[in-house]
């Protein structure tokens, strides 16, 4: 019986995240439409939600072309890597007190490791395409993700210090006893948010695929479902980062009793997904050197100061 529940949770997470990512493609376009005073896609199905299915059918039916000059094996492997990494990242997300695939005692590190692995997908995809735009996109993504990863991890260390654990379930439980982390770790929250956007290479940090400069960046040569995998990985990343922000800084499943815990978790994640889309609607893309200097000159020192202050206060208290 217990085994059945675990399987249910695993398949629920798998298909839930897939369906969520597919629906997010439609939902993002609707929200962008709303904020740009347009209607957005509203034809297929209820409010246009059938667009998610129509999009998948379209992607499967498209010609799946591998350029003759590409490195065949890496070219095929790259798009799968991002989806695998992001899906593995979902394994440690605690949806509700007992609904999680795995409660690792290093859950936070596991999550960071999996998002780091997603870099390989973009980088290898760019390299294997053997195309100058793809290469530039891959290079950008490598530099961007390596530098933003540094303080993405470090910004969470304040949380780890206060909670005294790497397990995401325990972090949420600590927040149940004390206070949601976005108040004591507000700077950490802001930095994690910014780093999270850069990590899932969403606008305004989507320089690896900046379509004004690089055609489509690292996925210039991709078509059909291979391109779909990159899209899927990107949207999975958005959901993953949103649910991580909700879990680590906003108390995960915690909330007033009139709604079930899992609902609170989804509500908080949903709010951050909407925020991600709002960023895309509102903020223009920075120049590449501005992005790098912003990361290294401002965010990294700020993270270190935050870390130092948290440590000092903890020792003093």
């Amino acid at each position: 019986m217990a085994e059945l529940v675990i399987y249910l949770v695993i398949f629920g997470t798998l298909f839930g995240s897939f369906a969520g990512a597919a629906l997010l493609v439609w939902f993002e376009r609707r929200l962008l439409g709303l904020w740009q005073d347009r209607l957005g896609p509203n034809r297929v199905g209820l409010f246009g939600a059938g667009l998610a299915i129509a999009d998948i059918i379209k992607l499967f039916a498209k010609e799946d072309w591998i350029p003759p000059f590409a490195d065949r094996f890496v070219f095929v492997f790259a798009p799968t890597a991002i989806v695998m990494a992001m899906l593995l990242g979902f394994a440690v997300v605690p949806f509700a007190p007992d609904i999680h695939v795995a409660d690792l005692n290093i859950g936070l590190l596991f999550f960071l490791g999996m998002t780091s692995l997603a870099v390989y997908s973009v980088l290898l995809g760019g390299l294997a395409s053997n195309n100058k735009y793809a290469l530039l996109g891959g290079l950008r993504s490598a530099a961007q993700m390596v530098s933003y990863e540094v303080f993405m991890g470090l910004s969470l260390m304040g949380v780890v210090m206060q909670a005294g654990t790497f397990s995401l379930v325990d972090i949420v439980l600590w927040q149940a006893d004390n206070i949601w982390f976005f108040i004591p770790q507000f700077i950490g929250f802001l930095i994690f948010l910014i780093a999270g956007i850069a990590e899932s290479h969403r606008l305004p940090f989507d320089l690896p695929e900046a379509e004004h400069e690089l055609v489509a960046g690292f996925h210039t040569e991709y078509s059909g479902m291979k391109f779909g995998m990159f899209m899927l990985g990107e949207y999975l990343g958005v959901i993953l980062i949103s649910s991580m922000i909700a879990t680590i800084f906003f108390g995960g499943w915690l909330g007033p009793d009139f709604l079930p815990p899992i609902f609170w978790f989804f509500l908080k994640s949903f709010a951050f997904i909407c925020f991600f889309i709002l960023l895309r609607a509102a903020i223009p893309r920075p120049r590449y050197d501005q992005l790098m200097s912003f990361g290294w000159k401002y965010l990294l020192p700020l993270t270190l100061i935050n870390l130092l202050a948290t440590g000092a206060i903890l020792l003093w208290a």
């Binding site: 709303l34 347009r38 209607l39 509203n42 509102a282």
Partner: protein, 178 residues
């Protein structure tokens, strides 16, 4: 430091202002079900209008064909027995037309006019070529009451020289009488 705070503040204001757009009505409409409002002077399908007497306004002067930047207008002048000019054929190829309205501006007789109608899709490209009978409408279009031959000094049927609007009777220049 002040610059950084200013930049952050600017970003937050941007986010807030875009968020406010949640409550503004959309500028677009779901088109086939709901027609957008087109201004009366919207530049759409081209028509040829008639004067108040029901005659064709077009005098086949070719100015529209000259003004047309994509050369989509073709016509040939002919005359009736009273000396009134009209177009023998008048052909607009709408698959070329860019609805710029230069023909309407060039027209000295208000004959060629653009209307607020853009729904002229065809499956066959040949059907995009409109002949005179497709272009002519029975009304006067945007300038009611205007008749070129009744303000111009040319004599036609039922109107001799000097009978136009604001036109003095012709003077016999060879006569010495006052």
């Amino acid at each position: 430091m002040g610059m950084i705070l200013k930049a952050i503040w600017s970003q937050l204001v941007t986010l807030y202002r875009v968020l406010l757009h949640t409550f503004t009505p959309t500028d677009t409409v779901s088109y086939p079900e709901e027609m957008p409002y087109l201004a009366p002077r919207y530049r759409g399908r081209i028509v040829l209008t008639r004067d108040p007497g029901g005659e064709e306004r077009c005098v086949a002067c070719n100015l529209c064909a000259v003004a047309c930047p994509v050369d989509c207008i073709a016509l040939q002048k002919t005359e009736d027995e009273h000396g009134r000019w009209y177009a023998d054929f008048f052909r607009i190829n709408f698959s070329r037309c860019v609805m710029c309205g230069l023909c309407e501006e060039a027209c000295p007789t208000y004959a060629i006019q653009l209307t607020p109608d853009f729904e002229m899709c065809e499956y066959d490209r040949q059907n995009m070529v409109y002949e005179k009978e497709h272009l002519l409408i029975s009304g006067q279009g945007k300038y009611p009451g205007y008749s070129f031959y009744h303000v111009a000094g040319k004599a036609i049927k039922d109107k001799d020289k000097g009978e136009s609007l604001n036109e003095a009777t012709p003077i016999d220049v060879r006569s010495l009488l006052p």
